[in-house]
Amino acid sequence: MQPTSHAFKQNAKRAMVDTPLQESLRRLETGFTAARQAAADGLPEFEDLRDEARGIKNHVLEHLDLYLERFESRVTEKGGQVHWCETPRDARNAILEICRKVGARTVTKGKSMVAEEIALNPFLEENGIEPVETDLGEYIIQLADEPPSHIIGPAVHKTKDQVSDLFHEHHQKYGKTERIEEPEALVAEAREILRQKYFDADVGITGANFLIAETGSTVIVTNEGNGDLTQMLPRIHIVVASLEKIVPTLEDVSTILRVLARSATGQEMSVYTTFSTGPKRPEDLDGPDEFHVVLLDNGRSEMLGTELQELLRCIRCGACMNHCPVYHAVGGHTYGWVYPGPIGAALDPHLIGLEEARHLPNASTFCGRCEEVCPMRIPLPKIMRHWREQAFEHHVSPSPERFAIRLWAAIAKRPMLYHLGTRIAMAVLGRLGRRRGRFASLPLAGGWTGGRDLPAPEGRTFQAMWAARGGRTGR
């Protein structure tokens, strides 16, 4: 997708007055956070498992090349094929070539963020191949021609009424002329329509939550079962995955599975955890004839050994956005690219460039909840701070902003000047605001006072009061 991250501020303004969106976001805020907390409380070892999971991924990242080589040799032994792709373009072409070889007309797709990252659907359409999203959320946004707004609930921004309208509009051609409203009936209708498509598709494309070096298996974790139907019914199964999805052994996957679903939806296990190894065996009655793993780098190999390495531990559970006050206020589309929320704010500047994504690391209150709930303990605020520094140092931020930061830095570094300046400012503001006790607007701070009043200071700074009480104010 074409990023709109540069327009974050305009996107956010629109989102905050979008009533159905705000309704959906409120639901998300209460639903997911409570469920995760209950799941974490229900397992005494949960915090220790997070440490173990982090340790597994750290070990993998230090040996990523070796594990990938082992993974590839296991896949090959089992009759599958690994396609190494440096760029989204390489990955799209690899997929197209596989599809062309079998003359594919339609492909069914399980949910995959990497497929979004490489913008696969429009590319397949341009090449005369119809992609059919089968995850219900992805199916809804494919009908709406929108990108996902959340990494595990792609259509979480849509209300039931909006889904009713979409189905009513797009299902007429299947003879479904009545507008239905109940979620149960909507799910049933999508099920009925997609069922035949699984059987008709020539190729099934899924993502992968994990790639296992020990066995050459790919793993998907879903609740609907769409990913399984996608990968078992067509002749060809293509897995598209980024290279950091590797874990060493079946035991290691088991450990990470114990924190994944709990962090994501609050389930102990998602309904379906499926391990796929190679194509069907000659004697098997079902399964695909071919098994391909399209392995995407897209700049990840450059993240190793840098401040960004820790981001490669991410298992895409969505907990960071489920707990983010900024995400709750503006929703996923505002971030303007595939990965929204705190993980997007930390990752997108690397993937689409800091120029495009420079607002994202600023879209944070630094409350730290994302890091608190991240099952892999990724220091997201620290990485956002890294991007803020980069934006300043490399002159990506506009000059007024950089001037203001430089001015602030100059004052903050000189305590005498700082104390004098704040004392004067407090005294002046205190006097001006004495009558009403607050300011409804202030010069240079219109953005802040636009949504709330600034309480008037009572005349003295904290430092001054602290000193008056005999506290230490410095050396």
């Binding site: 070892e45 070796l66 809804i140 099920r191 069922r195 399984d228 102990e268 098997d284 780098d297 050994g305």
Partner: protein, 227 residues
């Protein structure tokens, strides 16, 4: 240079490793060869009979229904009861697995049984299980010539015939069993861990069962004396 060489080259450069690093190779080999479990929650560490109880409790909480029967002889009756309870036709598609041959199906002549992979028209799939994990109430099936994985996903109703002796504590116990059966590193095409009937919450976070996979999941749990 191929994409493979460039990516691996980039990785090695980023990791500050040029050429063959014997220590790194040894660390990876050690990790892959060790079958050591990481931290395993204590929840399922209990005698087998209690693991079976825990499994039933966990599975039931996941909207799986469980009918406990005394022996294989009771399986046809239990399946017929299930079909009747849900107003389903007396017709099942069953895995061609010899493990199900010991069931006296002829006791229920009205039950029409065909065997093979699932087709779009099949309403009820009947399969054996590989193991059942007490910790989370999860069923595990593995694919083979006798156990087509489509039976787990295509029919609206999935009925699993599970022996109590197949209930184990954890995922780690299950992997140990799979390795013992097949040898290290040899995985079947498909291993399915199934924790409930298919569900979705993609419309307004409302939980709906039967998204794409089975609408219902039913276990006939056979007390085979091991518990």
């Amino acid at each position: 240079m191929s994409g493979r060489e460039r990516i691996l080259g980039n990785l090695k450069r980023s990791l500050g490793r040029d050429g063959l690093d014997v220590n790194a190779v040894a660390a990876v080999e050690r990790r892959l060869a060790s079958r050591n479990a990481n931290l395993v929650p204590k929840r399922a560490a209990r005698p087998h009979a209690e693991q079976v109880d825990l499994f039933i409790e966990k599975a039931t909480a996941l909207d799986i229904t469980v009918a406990r029967v005394g022996g294989l002889a009771d399986v046809p009756g239990a399946i017929s009861d299930y079909l009747a309870e849900h107003n389903l036709p007396s017709e099942i598609k069953m895995a061609p697995d010899p493990a199900l041959d010991g069931v006296p199906w002829a006791d229920r002549p009205m039950l029409k049984i065909t065997r093979g992979r699932a087709e779009i028209s099949d309403a009820v799939g009947v399969t054996p299980a590989f193991r059942a994990i007490a910790e989370t109430g999860t069923l595990v099936t593995v694919s083979s010539a006798d156990r087509p994985a489509t039976l787990n996903f295509v029919p609206d109703d999935h009925v699993v015939v599970l022996n109590a002796s197949q209930v184990i504590g954890t995922m780690e116990d299950m992997w140990a069993g799979l390795r013992a059966d097949r040898g290290d590193g040899d995985m079947p095409r498909t291993v399915n861990m199934i924790s409930g009937p298919s569900r979705t919450a993609d419309i307004q976070l409302t939980l709906i069962k039967g998204a794409h996979g089975p609408r219902r999941l039913h276990i006939v749990l056979v007390d085979d004396g091991a518990a």
